[in-house]
Assembly symmetry: C2
Amino acid sequence: MSEMYAIRRTRLREQFNAAGNAAALVSRPANVRYLAGPAPHGAVLLLGRTEDVLVCTEPPEDRPTEGRPDDTLRIQTLPGTFGDPAVAAADFAAAKGDDSLAVEEQHLTVTRHRAIRSVAPRLRVADLGGAVEQLRVVKDEEEISSLRIGAEIADQALGELLESILVGRTERHLALELERRLVDHGADGPAFATSVATGPNAGRRGHRPTDRRVEEGDFLSVCLGATYRGYRCEIGRTFVIGTSPADWQIELYDLVFAAQRAGRESLAPGAAYRDVDRAARQVLDSAGHGAGLPALTGHGVGLEIDEDPQLAPAAMGKLDACVPVTVEPGVHLPGRGGVRIDDTLVVRPEADGGPELLTITTKELLAL
Amino acid sequence: MSEMYAIRRTRLREQFNAAGNAAALVSRPANVRYLAGPAPHGAVLLLGRTEDVLVCTEPPEDRPTEGRPDDTLRIQTLPGTFGDPAVAAADFAAAKGDDSLAVEEQHLTVTRHRAIRSVAPRLRVADLGGAVEQLRVVKDEEEISSLRIGAEIADQALGELLESILVGRTERHLALELERRLVDHGADGPAFATSVATGPNAGRRGHRPTDRRVEEGDFLSVCLGATYRGYRCEIGRTFVIGTSPADWQIELYDLVFAAQRAGRESLAPGAAYRDVDRAARQVLDSAGHGAGLPALTGHGVGLEIDEDPQLAPAAMGKLDACVPVTVEPGVHLPGRGGVRIDDTLVVRPEADGGPELLTITTKELLAL
C-alpha cells in the first residue's frame, strides 16, 4: 500500500519539478487521501525536496476499514491551538531552503493563500493547478475493486428496499432506510445524500427528500451510493408504484432508457467526453426534451462523488481505459414527475468486453 | 420574514459602504442563507447600489419546512452550463457601474477570486472579511426559537435511545438510529455527523463511529444535534453500561461534570470568551488532565454547527446576550476511554434568569 502512495507522489513530483517548483503543498482532502492514505480531518501534505510530511492538527486515528496514513511519510502533529496546517507546511518548506512552492489555488482560499505568502515571504508561491485531480482520473485495479464492492453494496440496499412496502412512506424515511442498509452491508457510509423523489418530484437530479408520501401511480426515483474504502459510486433507478404504469410513464421511461443506453454504449477508450454526452442527450433532444436537461449527463467518480471527467457538451478531452464514470440522463416534467437512470461503469477496451457495468440492478421498468 | 432579511442586508450594507465599497458579493452558503433565506446549492448574493440579486444555477425549490428565498430579492437563474455564479455576479456589478466590490476572501478560492477580477478588470475588489459572520453571532428570538426546537428534538431522540437495549450494538448502528429518530421527530436532518463512542473510544471529540459493539462496563459517549429551519444545535452525554460504574468512572465523570458546570455558570453578557474557557479548563487542569485537552471547550452555534465565538484560551472578545454557545469539556484517557458532556445554552443576563439551557437531558451519570 505504502509503495502505491510513494509511486503516486513520484509521478506528481516529476510534474511540479518539471514546472520549476521544488516543493508542493496539497490541501484538497481527496488529493491528500490519494497521495498519503487516510489522514485526519484538515491534514495537508507537503512534498518537499528531501522528505514528504503529512501535517495534521490531530494524531492519525486507526480506522478498521480505512487504515492509516502511509507509514513512509513523516507525520507532524501540530498543537491544537496552532491554526492552519497549510501555513505550518509552508513554513517548513521555507525553513528547508526551498525557493518555490506550488499550491492548490483551486482549493485554497484567498485568506489562506495570503497567510502562506506572509509566513514565508521569500518562497515563490506558484499554482499546482489540477495536477492531482488529473492523476486521479485513471484508476488502478485496487481502486476499481473498491468501487465494485461499493456498487454491490448499493445494489443490495436498493434490492431490499424494493421488497418492502413503499406506499404511504415518506421520501425522507425511505432515504434514511437506504442509508441504514448501506451501512448494514459494510459501507463506510453513504457516498452522498441519498435522493428519494416521488410523484411530481421524481426525476429531479439531486432532489432532497421531503415529507411527501409515496402514492399509487407515482413515479419513484431513487439515487444512492456507498462509500467503500473511501471510494464513492452511484446508482439511480426509477420505478412505478402500483399495478400498471400509465402510457405516458412507459413512453417517458423508454425514452430515458434509450438515452442512457446510448450513453453507455458510447463509452470506449478514446471517445470524446462531449460525444458520450451527445449520444445520450440527442435521444432526449430529438424527443423535444432538450430545454430542461441538466448541464451534464455523467461524470467521473472515485474518492469524490463528482470528479473529472465531466460528460457535458463543452467538455474537452477523451476517455481512457480504467476511468469510472456515471451515465445518468433524466427528464423531469414540471408538475408530473419524471425519470432518471444512473449507472456507474468503468471504461474498458472492446477487447476486454467493453464498458464494465458496476451497478447491476435491473433497468426494466418495475411496477412495485 | 422578508423584512428580517432586508434589515440584515441593510446592516451589512452600512458596514461595507462605510469601508468605501459600493457593492458586496456574499458566497459562503450560511451567509447567503442568513441574508437571503433558503437558496439553491451554490447560490451567491450580490448586494448592489440599486438592487440585491440572488444568483443561482438552478431555480429555487419550495421546501416545506425551510421555505423559499426572500421574495423582495431579484432572482437570477443562470443556464446550467454557465459556470460560477460568483463570476456572473461580479459581471453584473461591473455592468451596473459599481467601481468597487467587497468579496469574502475567507471563503473564495484563489482561482475564483482571479476569475472575478478578470471578468471585471475595472472593479476594485476588496475584502468583506468576516462581516456577515459577525452579524450572525447575536441571534434574534426567532433564530433562538429554531435552536430551541432543534434541541428538544435531539433530547427526544437521545431519550428514546436510552430506553432501548444497547449492549451488543455497534457504534455505527446506534449513530444511524439516532439520526433516524431526529428526522422522525421533525428535524431537517442531523446537524453534523452523529458521534457514538464506546469503551476506549468514549470521550473522544468528533469520534467517527466504528463497528465496535457496546460492552458491559463501557463508557458510552454520544454527541448529536438536529438541524431545524437551518439552525443547528448540539448535545453530548456520557453513560456507563451495566449495573454499577467503577470507581475511576465515577471520579472521571464527576470531574468533567464539575468542569462543564463551571463553564456553564460563567456564561454571562460581558464575560470574556477566554474566561469561560478557563473556568472549565482549570478544573480539568488542576486534576492533572491539562495536557490532552482539546483546543476549545465550546463554540457558537447557529446556521453552522461551529461558528463564532470560539471559547478557547487565546480567543479575543466578550459574550453578548442572545449568543448561543456550546459548553463541552471532556477528558479521554488513551486505552481506557473517557467522558464528554456537552450542552447548548443561550447567554442571558442575570435579570432574565442567567444562561438558558436548551438541551435538558439529565447530566446525572446513568448506568444503562
